[in-house]
Amino acid sequence: MLDMVTVVDVVLLALLSTTAVAILIMRHLFAVVALTGAFSLLSAGLLVTLDAVDVAFTEAAVGAGISTVLMLGTLALTRRRESRPPRLSPIGLLIITITGGALIYATPDMPKFGDPNAPSHQHIIPSYIKGSQDDIGIPNIVTSILASYRSFDTLGEVAVIFTAGMGVIILLGRRREDEHGYSEDGAAYPLKDKNKPKINDETST
């Protein structure tokens, strides 16, 4: 009953839980970002045991790679430490108790883990698996669905990425501008209000 795959599965999930709790407790943001990368890499390992090799590949590249780089870049532009010590949040605990309780209450209605007769495997999937070699001619069924059967999803994804990219450019592109036009050194956008309270960054910790 307890085969090797289950053991690997449980060990990876335990490591993921430990990493998540460490992220919750840590105050040094550099360590938090490094642990986020480790979290993504561990989840990529778990995805391989769940047969999702394409997803694992993407998660390792995007989640552990690009996302960590973006966060480190943000840390370089902001600050390294959380200033408030971690404290118990009663509202947060209430929210996760209710949400988590509801989700766990619902799991017995879910199909058993790995059940080949689960409803999600009955509709349309058999015809994809049977027909993709003749229809598309690519051995990887995930690629066939992504790029052909469901290519409009991927088109929508491109629109989302384009919108997000424009958003980032609009938000950060303004930094080069000052009141007279464009400053050549790319200095930070001048703060208009000189009256606002100065909040000490590194000394307040």
């Binding site: 009953m1 599965d9 999930l13 998540a20 992220i23 919750l24 943001l29 938090v32 986020t36 979290f39 989840s43 995805l47 769940l50 047969d51 999702a52 394409d54 997803v55 993407t58 998660e59 973006l70 966060m71 943000t74 959380e82 200033s83 971690p86 118990l88 949040s89 509202i91 947060g92 929210i95 996760i96 949400t99 988590g100 989700l103 879910m110 883990f113 790995g114 059940d115 080949p116 689960a118 349309i124 999937i125 698996i129 993709s132 070699q133 069924i141 995930v142 992504l146 999803d153 994804e157 990425i161 997000a164 980032v168 938000l171 950060l172 930094r175 209000d193 009256n195 606002k196 960054d201």
Partner: protein
């Protein structure tokens, strides 16, 4: 008993991960920490979807010419899209954090609300004087 646990343990552990992510988002005031929490939540949802697609003794859905049992490829496709959309939202959130830091000098929620209050008060004083 053991069989009942083995049937659903994956869902429970993933829900635990999800709740840690949600708790970080709700309870921590640091904006970068909040985005990290959101990322944990997101990754747990990905794992939940892929768990639903798993078939016992199945393999990765790549045709080799032999008759095999494949895991469900459809959740894989959905999550591939979701990962890329997730990194897009993370990038946008981090850009917002950088802008907030430039305007308010802080990325702590409480400092930002103090700063906003101060600004509002000084505007009221300007009008009344």
């Amino acid at each position: 008993m053991l069989a009942a646990i083995l049937d659903h343990y994956n869902y429970w552990l993933i829900i635990f991960l999800m709740m840690i992510g949600l708790y970080i988002v709700v309870s921590r005031g640091n904006l970068i920490k909040k985005i990290v929490g959101l990322n944990i939540f997101q990754t747990s949802v990905f794992l939940l979807y892929i768990t639903i697609g798993k078939v016992n003794y199945g393999t990765a859905p790549i045709l080799t010419g032999q008759p095999e049992t494949f895991s469900n490829p459809l959740p894989h496709v959905l999550i591939l899209t979701a990962i890329v959309v997730g990194i897009a939202t993370t990038a946008l959130g981090l850009a917002l954090v950088v802008r907030i830091r430039e305007s308010y000098g802080s990325i702590e929620e409480e400092d930002i609300s103090v700063s906003e209050q101060f600004q509002a008060e000084s505007e009221v004083n300007k009008i009344s004087s």
